[in-house]
């Protein structure tokens, strides 16, 4: 009992930290976007102050800056693209991740063609990666839907979005490779 109490005391600062992080994100965009212009990137788009940007994506400092700024800048959606929202350094590495997956596929395809690995192993490897991609994308996607629908805003949301995007790159590329592997059966799906 004493050990449990000690552990709880040790965990207290961490719990407090988590709760304060949650509190600081209470009125923020679940996608982590900043100054998201009309019509917004999600169904939760809210613009009560009528400045053309989602209120959830506006921090108190950015809103104060907007108010203090010159009037002609208000509602100028062209100056606030999605790229601005990513100014905090979120990079989804689409091309590098795609190139790495395709490179790995070409390598395994070459090894299979040269007879270094069996067809069953080659297919098994890519089916496993595809399943992993689907499971990761599906799980993080469902988490995002629940978080957005239930208006749950935590510090974890941006990282869930990030991993949803990364897993979806694996899923999409691996699905296209899956179609390549099973090209003959795939052609029959259009012949009823």
């Amino acid at each position: 009992m004493e050990k449990i109490a000690k552990k709880l005391i040790l965990l207290l600062p961490a719990i407090t930290g988590l709760l304060s992080a949650d509190g600081s994100c209470a009125a923020s965009c679940p996608y982590g976007l900043v100054n998201d212009p009309y019509p917004g990137q999600c169904p939760r788009y809210t613009d009560l102050n009528g400045d053309g940007f989602c209120d959830f994506s506006q921090t108190s400092t950015s809103m104060a800056t907007d108010t203090a700024a010159d009037e002609p800048h208000q509602g100028d959606a062209t100056n606030h693209t999605i790229g601005d929202a990513d100014a905090d350094g979120v990079d989804y590495h689409i091309i590098p991740v795609t190139m790495i997956i395709i490179g790995l596929y070409l390598l395994t395809y070459h090894l299979f063609k040269k007879g270094y690995i069996k067809r069953s192993k080659y297919r098994r490897l890519w089916n496993l990666l595809l399943t992993f991609g689907y499971a990761g994308t599906g799980f993080t996607g469902f988490l995002l839907i629940f978080f957005i629908k239930l208006s749950i805003r935590t510090a974890l949301n941006p990282s869930i979005t990030y991993w949803h995007a990364e897993m979806s790159i694996l899923m999409v590329v691996a699905t296209l490779l899956h179609i390549h592997i099973y090209w003959k059966p795939f052609k029959f799906i259009f012949s009823f």
Partner: protein
């Protein structure tokens, strides 16, 4: 009953999963590319909506896909 044979049934669901993948997977890839390169289009909101809807469908149809290819799934995970 045997009104439709297995091949027809599998082909039908493969076609449905393929269409769901086109909307959700390729649609999501387009959205991600637009987000990455700062491209804003008027259809973003609709594409995001259909990406989510088709994504939910895709996840459910994937379970059906596993069901009718369960022999392959067992082999992939080394169950048999």
């Amino acid at each position: 009953m045997g009104l439709v044979n297995r091949r027809w049934h599998v082909n039908l669901w493969n076609l449905i999963i393929f269409m769901a993948f086109i909307v959700s997977g390729i649609g999501g890839f387009i959205l991600l590319s637009m987000l990455e390169y700062g491209v804003k289009a008027p259809f973003n909101h609709q594409l995001l909506y259909w990406h989510v809807e088709a994504g939910v469908g895709l996840m459910i149809i994937t379970i059906f896909h596993f069901h009718y290819y369960k022999g392959s799934i067992y082999r992939v995970f080394g169950v048999r």
